[in-house]
Symmetry: C2
Subunit: 256 residues, 2 copies
């Protein structure tokens, strides 16, 4: 049998938290501050919220804890999508500096299990003093260089989201309880980065049974008011519905 590594790695979870507002997908990022003595350059940078996994919790619990400490929310859509463990993933000076204050073994590597979370960003109230002084929703097109390999992780999350959304009805997690058909279409268009036909979209969504129309309509808009819909959470979660598959460009299905 082979030899153990000389030093156990640290294991963390990182959360890629998606939100949707002003017609853009956004990530909730935290601002970290590095002790000034070590880096003489700028002393703060953005990173994904994350933390080391504690002795008594499993990975899902650790991710849920991070999410709750930052946003105050529980019971939200949270799904593991990939573990990252490159030995060199922590090589930037700022990262090493920040970790000095957190890790036990300064030379041990950090392996992280990445989660993606989908939130109605209106519900989020950043919790003071939990992870950082500051957390911001940044459009995915404007994500700066992040700490560690968090840019890779974010990109992985986006790809995973794009895939998932085509297989399961989860996009609703990014919207408020009540939403209009246009809200929903815009969301899908944003995630998939392509335009969808309005009439076909409505038909498919309604036929799918994943949403229910409310009697209620918009008020005070200066055009024809849109109807509100809700996501049939119970129906979908109890398997009362078929598998939902959003076909991709150039795809085809196999088998009878």
């Amino acid at each position: 049998m082979s030899v153990s590594p000389s030093l156990n790695p640290h294991v963390s979870v990182d959360c890629v938290i998606f939100g949707f507002s002003k017609e853009t997908l956004r990530l909730l990022l935290i601002k970290r501050t590095v002790p000034n003595a070590i880096t003489e350059l700028d002393d703060s940078y953005y990173a994904l919220p994350g933390d080391l996994v504690r002795d008594n919790e499993n990975l899902d619990e650790a991710a849920a804890r991070v999410l709750k400490e930052l946003t105050g929310l529980t019971g939200i859509f949270l799904q593991q999508f990939q573990a990252f463990g490159d030995p060199l993933r922590i090589s930037k000076a700022k990262d090493r500096a920040w970790l000095q204050g957190v890790r036990q073994d300064p030379d041990a590597r950090v392996i992280t299990v990445a989660y993606m979370a989908l939130i109605d960003s209106n519900k989020v109230q950043i919790q003071p003093g939990s992870f950082s002084k500051e957390a911001v929703w940044l459009p995915i097109a404007e994500i700066p260089e992040l700490g560690f390999d968090h840019n890779d992780i974010s990109e992985g999350a986006l790809l995973a989201l794009r895939e998932k959304v085509q297989i399961q009805p989860i996009a609703f997690e990014l919207l408020p309880e009540k939403f209009t058909m246009s809200d929903l279409q815009t969301l899908y268009e944003t995630i998939l980065e392509r335009d969808l036909d309005k009439r076909n979209f409505r038909r498919k969504m309604l036929n799918s049974g994943v949403i229910t129309a409310l009697p209620e309509k918009q008020h005070g808009v200066s055009n024809k008011p849109a109807r509100y819909y809700v996501f049939n959470r119970n129906l979908v979660e109890n398997g009362g519905l078929g598998f939902v598959n959003l076909k991709m460009e150039g795809s085809f299905t196999l088998f009878s």
Copy 2:
């Protein structure tokens, strides 16, 4: 900022290695032997091949190393599918006994990153003295109780395989270079656990462009000889083909 756990976890990779022979999906499992002094019961049991991740390697490399040490093969389809980190995942007496000889910190938990591998099982020659004295291909329907949470991991792998196979043309990795259309259909039927229509299957497969017919046919079979096909590895890997989607029962596609 929160407090670190008191003891760093061990991090391992485990490989769920799929093969296909005699019309059944099989897993390659190793037999582990526990020091007799500790357990007075049976002193061996099956487990997934795996190992602790070493300091200088990333997760993919660790998994590839495990695979190579066991089978001698490189360049195999190998894909991370989930990390498992329940604090109680190692609670059976046999597991603890076995780990005594391997881990540095007997009380530290073990977090594992699980990979699935797809192999043409004819190519496998078990390497002597690597992981265990013995390794066997067991039909997935006959997997006994495994060490650790390896039954959970195996089931997760099977679900992941079933999903993957419907999105990407990867089933070929389980077959020899040359295969007949019936071989391929039987494989899909085995993985998906449902019957497929022969004519529709052939049509779809040929139209998809993922396979090419060879001039060669079977010899010495006591019936009409079947044509051989090969998987278009280059074409598929270079994105020269569309996304392949095997539709699921009751599914439907959304959007134009």
